[in-house]
């Protein structure tokens, strides 16, 4: 078990951009960099990074997952905090990895890396001690708390930041604790369940008619926005890092989604 309370908090940080931002959501990664820089951080991007290995891990194919994780641990060597704009990938680093390396000789080395990993919102609030976010963002949003931040400090941290932004209103919606139905390969191996879950989430979100559906995980948003678009009822989505960045520039969120 990794002790999350002892993670480093220095302002020189390594960015783990995540494979989804690498492939689809470059603006989220950019926003993350700008937000961290605004918070006074020096952001290092290790070029050789790939993925946290979660897809293989979740399928039970642990040797494959370990191969990827070993690579990742090498890429992120050092002692700086590792910041991830995804609760899911962060949880893979500090929770999944310990499970995946049970009984492996290099578990300690892997846990060293996990023991430096922060989800972005958690780092800003609990690592750097930022309690409010400056700027303005005039919108009504629904915030979907990604499931892999359950039991971590990320959910409340992000809420605290968002609620402190001038002009921003976070709308409560029904059955908020429920999963969106993405679940990685679950979304393709259980398409009916996954779709039904996503539709339920969209119904609850649409019922409060927000300007944006916001989350800290692009995987949930990729699934939900893909579903909404396929059903011809597109919904605008944003990562909270994009809101934090745009608030600084008093922009109203002309971000890529």
């Amino acid at each position: 078990m990794i002790n999350l309370a002892t993670r480093p908090t220095s302002k020189r940080v390594q960015l783990m951009a995540t494979c989804l931002c690498d492939a689809f959501y470059d603006d989220v990664a950019k926003a993350t960099v700008e937000v961290l820089e605004h918070a006074g951080c020096e952001v290092v991007f290790p070029e050789n990074q790939t993925c946290c290995g979660q897809p293989a891990f979740n399928c039970g194919q642990w040797p494959a997952a370990r191969t990827v994780m070993r690579h990742t641990a090498q890429v992120f060597a050092g002692d700086e905090p590792i910041i991830v704009p995804s609760g899911s990938c962060a949880a893979m680093m500090f929770h999944g990895a310990t499970l995946e390396f049970e009984g492996e000789k290099d578990r300690a080395a892997i846990e060293q890396v996990g023991g430096r990993t922060w989800e972005l919102g958690d780092f800003l609030v609990n690592g750097l001690g930022i309690k409010e976010w400056p700027g303005e963002f005039h919108a009504r949003i629904a915030f979907h708390r990604a499931c892999h931040t359950r039991g971590t400090a990320s959910g409340p941290a992000v809420m605290q930041l968002l609620e402190s932004i001038k002009g921003l209103r976070v709308l409560p919606f029904g059955e908020a604790e429920q999963c969106c139905g993405f679940g990685g390969t679950f979304s393709v191996s259980f398409p009916n369940v996954s779709t039904a879950m996503g539709e339920l989430k969209l119904e609850h979100v649409e019922a409060v008619d927000p300007d944006y559906l916001v989350s800290g995980d692009m995987s949930c948003l990729m699934h939900l926005s893909g579903l909404a678009e396929r059903e011809h009822r597109p919904i605008k989505t944003l990562h909270f890092a994009q809101i934090l960045r745009d608030a600084l520039h008093h922009r109203h969120g002309q971000a890529t989604h």
């Binding site: 020189r12 390594q14 951009a17 931002c21 959501y25 470059d26 960099v33 820089e37 290092v44 991007f45 290790p46 990074q49 790939t50 993925c51 290995g53 897809p55 293989a56 399928c59 039970g60 194919q61 642990w62 494959a64 997952a65 191969t67 990827v68 070993r70 690579h71 499970l99 049970e102 499931c147 892999h148 359950r150 039991g151 604790e177 429920q178 999963c179 139905g181 993405f182 679940g183 990685g184 390969t185 679950f186 979304s187 393709v188 191996s189 259980f190 398409p191 009916n192 369940v193 779709t195 039904a196 996503g198 339920l200 990729m222 699934h223 926005s225 893909g226 579903l227 678009e229 396929r230």
Partner: protein, 474 residues
């Protein structure tokens, strides 16, 4: 619209597509309401209910890891108070022990109070085959029994049935003309069951807990049926999983406070009964004999596995209620006695050499962790599901719809290949993706679109800022 991709199907996913919308709606409504009540009550009553869940988990884990000591102690406490203790290694052993007790006392009619372990060992069928009439007294379980059905929820066995279904069953069984008023249904059951209680020679129950130091079997019901099973009958037989032991009465303060709130959003269940022996000789009612059958039925195998935490379970059903997959699928989709998240872990483990037949259950989860968050004994269900997925993979159980990960491992550990894949992935935007013969892609695209490919764009941007602030690490 149900997914009809050419890909092989996961059973639960198929089941969901075929579940009548009325059942799905009933299940969703009931589970969502109970979940909401639970949140509310725990929030109102405790400043830190999470700490309490962790404490309860630790009590249970401690007991499991000292089970030999506590089980022996429970046996000793019960024996000292005049109960007879039996052990059963297999389901068959347990059924045989019960039958022998009944036949040697000349009993051919019994009433049963709801118990998951008796479902697990299929006791009713066994008794029927030996000429013993066994009637389920819990209203829901009784309806399951007369319909030859299976419970679809561990607390609400007929969550999948409408009042109309029940009214038809009652009519068929001769309990009056068709009437679907829930009150009438309940009154008819009351009247019918009274006769059964009074003519039964034995009452069969399970137990929610057994305290080691005082040998108390704790039974909780809302209907009062367990009490009724144990008032007129001459013999009480309790079937108890060996993992149900807790060290002492004091531990019950934590467990009982969590059980009622987690199961049904009640502070306490209506009837909480503590039994540690047959009635004393000068009392007018209550069984003269008390038998406790401790059932293993592969629990020791589970204890030896890397999923032993599942034995902490106190069968509250909270994980079923909160589970988005259970809410879509209902209980029968799990094809075993224990549905939902707890069942997805426990059922394959209890299946022994039939593990493969149920190895798909642990896959039927988005790993959202809601089950762990509500579990009153803090069982890390998602971790256990993952370990079972690993086991299934190691045992080469085919898994429909799960992509092989060798290619991913290669990509993910070779940054140069990864980076070029990122750049070339842009080709996807120019390909007719929905026509591609890639089943996983097809399954995704059936109900969702994919975003535009922007592979490598962030890397280029980051490079362009090199030197401005920090730049690229190696």
């Amino acid at each position: 619209m149900p997914c009809t991709t050419a890909m092989a199907k996961q059973l639960i996913d198929t089941y969901v597509a075929e579940l009548p919308p009325t059942v799905q709606k009933a299940v969703h409504q009931s589970t969502a309401t109970t979940t909401e009540k639970r949140y509310q009550l725990l929030g109102d009553d405790f400043t830190d209910s999470d700490a309490l869940r962790k404490l309860a988990g630790s009590i249970r884990q401690h007991t499991l890891e000292h089970l030999d000591t506590y089980l022996a102690q429970a046996e000793e406490s019960l024996t000292a108070r005049g109960a007879k203790v039996h052990y059963a290694v297999t389901a068959d052993d347990a059924c045989r022990a019960v039958t022998e007790i009944l036949l040697s006392a000349g009993i051919t009619k019994v009433v049963k109070s709801k118990s998951m372990v008796t479902e697990e060992i299929h006791l009713n069928d066994y008794l029927a085959n030996h000429g013993i009439e066994s009637v389920e007294s819990d209203l829901g379980e009784y309806i399951v029994q007369i319909d030859g059905d299976h419970p679809s929820h561990i607390v609400r066995p007929i969550i999948h049935k409408t009042r109309g279904d029940i009214a038809r069953s009652f009519e068929r069984e001769g309990l009056g003309d068709y009437n679907d008023d829930p009150e009438t249904i309940t009154r008819r059951a009351r009247k019918f069951m009274r006769g059964k209680y009074l003519e039964a020679g034995a009452g069969i129950t399970g137990a929610n807990f057994v305290t080691a130091d005082t040998g108390r079997l704790v039974l909780v019901t809302n209907e009062g049926n367990s009490r009724f099973c144990l008032a007129p009958a001459k013999v009480h037989i309790a079937l108890v999983g060996i993992e149900k032991v807790v060290p002492s009465d004091a531990d019950l303060a934590v467990l009982l406070n969590l059980l009622g709130r987690s199961a049904t959003g009640q502070q306490l269940t209506v009837y909480t009964e503590f039994i540690n022996g047959p009635r004393r000789h000068d009392r007018p009612s209550g069984p003269e004999q008390m038998h406790v059958v401790f059932v293993d039925n592969r629990r020791t195998e589970v204890l030896a596995s890397d999923c032993k935490e599942i034995l902490r379970c106190i069968r509250c059903g909270a994980c079923l209620n909160v589970c988005p997959v259970y809410r879509q699928a209902s209980g029968h989709a799990y094809r075993s006695v224990y549905p939902g998240p707890v069942g997805a872990v426990l059922s394959p483990l209890l299946a022994g050499d039939k593990f493969k037949e149920l190895a798909d259950l642990p896959k039927a989860s988005s790993l959202c962790g809601a089950c762990n968050e509500v579990c009153p004994v803090d069982i890390p269900i998602p971790d256990l599901l993952l370990r079972l997925r690993r086991r299934a993979h190691e045992e080469h159980v085919p898994s429909p719809g799960t992509p092989p990960m060798a290619g991913f491992a290669l990509l993910g550990s070779h940054p140069l290949i990864w980076r070029s894949a990122m750049t070339f992935g842009a080709a996807k935007d120019y390909l007719p993706l929905d026509k591609m013969p890639v089943p996983y892609l097809g399954s995704w695209l059936k109900t969702r679109t994919l975003p535009k490919w922007r592979g490598g764009k962030f890397r280029t941007w980051m490079k362009s800022r090199h030197g401005r602030n920090g730049g690229n690490g190696k």
